[in-house]
């Protein structure tokens, strides 16, 4: 797959003040989660309501087997989804380093490459999981600057609510893992 992959930059914003409200709401929703299950529901709601996607996967990095394990998904069949195929080796390395990786819509040998985003979920300077946002709602064409700011927030603040105390035992070995 040769979609136009890159670390995303800004395209537009719907207003800094409104975006601050959105970030604040997302932060509050995650931090006030009553359980890991509630945090996962919060993540689904944040992606659906603020980003505009209902196809999401959360892949936990498994240190011992050097693989990714589907931790949770919504709107996709995780058994038939290949994270590494979508992400590519270069994309994987970026995400493992802590960069958000966005695939912009394009065509590859006639096949449509859909817009996608892969967000590193970080803890203690390590990527402990990858949030894959795999399709946008039809009314939303691409990601914008406010989405990038939201991804940054999720990257920095979602690990503890999502994984609870188990996050402390989730260091990783770096890129080059198998999906």
């Amino acid at each position: 797959m040769n979609g136009d992959k890159h670390t995303a930059t800004a395209t537009k914003s719907s207003g800094a003040g409104m975006n601050d409200l959105r970030l604040e709401a997302a932060r509050k929703r995650l931090s006030e989660s009553s359980s890991q299950q509630d945090a996962i529901e919060g993540l689904r709601e944040i992606v659906a309501n603020f980003v505009g996607s209902e196809e999401i996967g959360l892949f936990k990095v498994e240190r011992r087997a050097a693989t990714f394990k589907v931790y949770w998904s919504f709107g996709i069949d995780p058994e038939n989804y290949d994270l590494l195929r979508s992400l590519g080796e270069a994309g994987l390395q970026r995400v493992m380093r802590g960069e958000c990786h966005v695939v912009l819509p394009s065509r590859d040998r006639g096949a449509v490459v859909r817009v996608q985003a892969f967000v590193p979920i970080r803890f203690a300077n390590q990527t402990v999981a990858i949030l894959a946002i795999l399709r946008l709602l039809p009314q939303k064409i691409s990601f914008d600057r406010s989405d990038m700011e939201l991804f940054k927030l999720l990257s920095e603040e979602a690990a503890k609510p999502l994984f609870g105390s188990s996050v402390h035992s989730m260091p990783v070995e770096g890129p080059g893992m198998r999906a």
């Binding site: 997302a26 509050k28 309501n49 603020f50």
Partner: protein
């Protein structure tokens, strides 16, 4: 006395965001409900000036809640704006059939939402 908006969504995140927009970016008051059934009850009780309501919700969806509000004398005239992830024409048509006045899709643009609310309620 400031105008009152009933915000209805089963998503805590959406409710939190829409409430923040209403309370911090407008002069309107906000009351909330987390499904259609609660919305119908609260609309009767609170008599809001506008209802901003999600469509896909447990117990009673937004279309049905909209129909019920239109059947009740106390809520028949309240403007109802439906909010949903589905933007297809047939789906929007179903929304208007249920009696809504307007229809916006998620993700909600805050500035557009404020402008829409003000178009019904004034500044």
């Amino acid at each position: 006395m400031s105008k009152k908006i009933l915000v209805v969504d089963d998503s805590k995140t959406a409710l939190m965001m829409e409430r923040e927009i209403v309370e911090r970016r407008t002069t309107y008051q906000c009351v909330t409900a987390s499904d259609g059934l609660e919305a119908v009850e609260k609309a009767q009780l609170e008599r809001p000036d506008l209802v901003l309501m999600d469509v896909v919700m447990p117990r009673m969806n937004g279309f049905e809640a909209c129909k019920r509000m239109r059947q009740q004398p106390g809520t028949r005239e309240i403007p109802i704006v439906l909010v949903t992830t589905r933007g297809e024409e047939s789906y929007m048509e179903a929304g208007f059939q249920s009696g809504c006045n307007d229809y916006i899709t998620k993700p909600v643009d805050g500035a557009e939402l404020v402008a829409l609310l003000q178009s019904y309620l004034g500044e």
